[in-house]
């Protein structure tokens, strides 16, 4: 199939439709509004439903209802709107329903700005809502990967009955790149025999619920959830890495920031520096084990993010004291440059190549 040039936010919509998602509940917020606009245009053509909710809270609760009713369903927003969705996300995780939630991150806290950022890493990977739950968090670095992860994300959600979050930043939502739609790896997806579809007089009622009033029952439910998260951790980690055996410095970066890091690495290599890269594609489950591949001669890890230092905590957990962990971040919508990253790498070298 020939490649098509698409803007990130619209490519998300096209990929979701390819994945069989016919239902979208959303609310406008910059810089992701092209996605609900695209869905409002395209979903009626395939007999689906786009609905603009009265708030992000309502939108995520519509997703909760639709997911419980057995549909492939999606919502999207940007940082402050994702904060509002946390209530529903916690219920969806607690009731074990599949759905895909897109966060095209902008600067914060509060109303912040509309410029790109990665400041919702903690919120996405630590569970922004109440309770012990996990989202599968996918962080694409380019539009092709964005499309691939949206399509696979629906399968992951269905396989584990768990919400999946696509964590992108304003850049990936707004940029245009050529893409093609590929078939994801075949998964054995369980039937949705738990969905509210009406009993038809043929089965006992299905109940979608996250309430367990008895302490023993709620603990059992949490143990089941944790067992599921362990299974996801074992099966679904995705990471790209480069030159870990030979690197004197390893950069850890995800999303669009990793592309800037790659530009810096290419320039540093020309000057004779040996720099590696770990790019987590799944932010949860996090590719902790990948850091074990770094050779003992490494002088330090440089974490680069568009925030004040969030993923750096996971890098420290992964490294567990083996190497010094450094951080370089820009925030507020400011974007790190390759030169700035290269300078920090040289500082870690301490003047000796």
């Amino acid at each position: 199939m020939a490649k098509v040039l698409m803007k990130g936010n619209e490519a998300i919509g096209a990929a979701a439709i390819k994945a069989g998602c016919k239902y979208f509940f959303g609310y406008p917020i910059t810089p992701q509004s092209e996605l609900p606009e695209y869905m409002s245009r395209e979903l009626p053509k395939i007999g689906g439903c786009f609905l603009q909710a009265e708030s992000e809270i309502a939108a995520i609760n519509m997703v909760y209802g639709a997911a419980g009713a057995g549909a492939r369903v999606m919502t999207s927003s940007s940082s402050p709107g994702i904060s509002l969705k946390q209530e529903g996300i916690s219920y969806i995780a607690g009731a074990e329903l599949p759905c895909v939630i897109v966060n095209i991150m902008r600067g914060g806290p509060g109303l912040g700005s509309i410029q790109p950022s990665q400041t919702d890493y903690f919120q996405a990977t630590r569970g922004g809502g109440n309770g012990d739950y996990k989202l599968v968090v996918l962080a694409p670095a380019n539009i092709q990967e964005l499309v691939d992860l949206i399509i696979e994300g629906f399968d992951i959600a269905d396989q584990y009955r768990n919400p999946v979050m696509i964590l992108g930043d304003g850049m990936i939502g707004q940029m245009m790149e050529p893409i093609e739609f590929k078939e994801p790896k075949k998964r054995n997806l369980p039937p949705k025999d738990w969905a509210t579809t009406g009993t038809g007089g043929k089965r006992k009622p299905n109940i979608i619920n996250s309430l367990y009033l008895a302490a023993e029952a709620l603990e059992e439910h949490n143990k089941r959830l944790q067992a599921k998260y362990k299974e996801i951790t074992e099966n679904e980690v995705k990471v790209e890495s480069y030159n870990l055996e030979d690197a004197d410095v390893v950069i850890a970066a995800y999303g669009t920031t990793s592309r800037i890091a790659k530009t810096a690495i290419a320039a540093l290599e020309k000057e004779g520096y040996k720099v590696g890269l770990i790019r987590p594609i799944t932010l949860w489950p996090y590719p902790y084990d990948e850091f074990n591949k770094i050779s003992d001669k490494c002088k330090g890890i440089l974490t680069v993010e568009m925030n004040s230092g969030q993923m750096v905590d996971d890098v420290k957990i992964a490294v567990n004291g083996r190497f010094p962990v450094h951080f370089f971040g820009r925030t507020g919508g400011m974007i790190p440059t390759p030169n700035q990253i290269a300078e920090r790498v040289k500082e870690i070298y301490g003047g000796e190549k």
């Binding site: 609905l51 809270i57 609760n61 519509m62 009713a69 549909a71 529903g88 009406g198």
Partner: protein
Amino acid sequence: MTVVFEKTRGLTDAQTHYCPGCTHGIVHRLVAESLEELGVLDNAIGVAPVGCSVLAYNYFNCDMHEAAHGRAPAVATGIKRIHPDKFVFTYQGDGDLASIGTAEIVHAAHRGEKISTIFINNAIYGMTGGQMAPTTLVGQKATTAPYGRDEAHCGRPLRIAEMLATIHGAKFVERVAVNNPANVRKAKQAIKKCFQFQLEGKGFGIVEVLSACPTNWGYTPVEALKWLEENMIPYYPLGNFRNPEEVE
């Protein structure tokens, strides 16, 4: 032997957790009988609220979805948009619908969402222990209004039925009470008619049911029904506020 009365198939055999004299049980029965009599029970998906009726999903004998506080109309919207051919209803109290969930109920009505809502107004937060609701009457005591509701401090009680009746998409709006057998019969008629409106695809429908909460009001069950009649009905008049047969 002739059967003169049977428990409706619309209710499960579960024993309810409601307090003595609470009227949730009566309203559950009316809803369940209506579902059965209209032949939609096997086609129905209900949405339970947060509040005293949080466990309604154990009592209605159909597919059920437990929503977050106030969000039942949004959850029901999601379900109905996936299954437009199914019968979708919400069952909500006044803390749920008239306070934290006002945005969701107003906009479900505003969109003309083809769902039916049963709204229990007992002028108090029951489950959390008798706190003031937007529907608590002026002067009525609550655990967060120990001196009685003060109009100057927190306004007059919210009349939900009248408010929703101003919205074009709300095609059936009626307030009933379950304080005596005659009113219970009228409540059943209203609920059934409201459900019929959904089946005919007319738009959003709501039945507000004035209900008793003896436990949190501090009355015996009989006193509570009397208090409802003497205090709630004068402020919350019974009747149909919007019904397209009359309005349009």
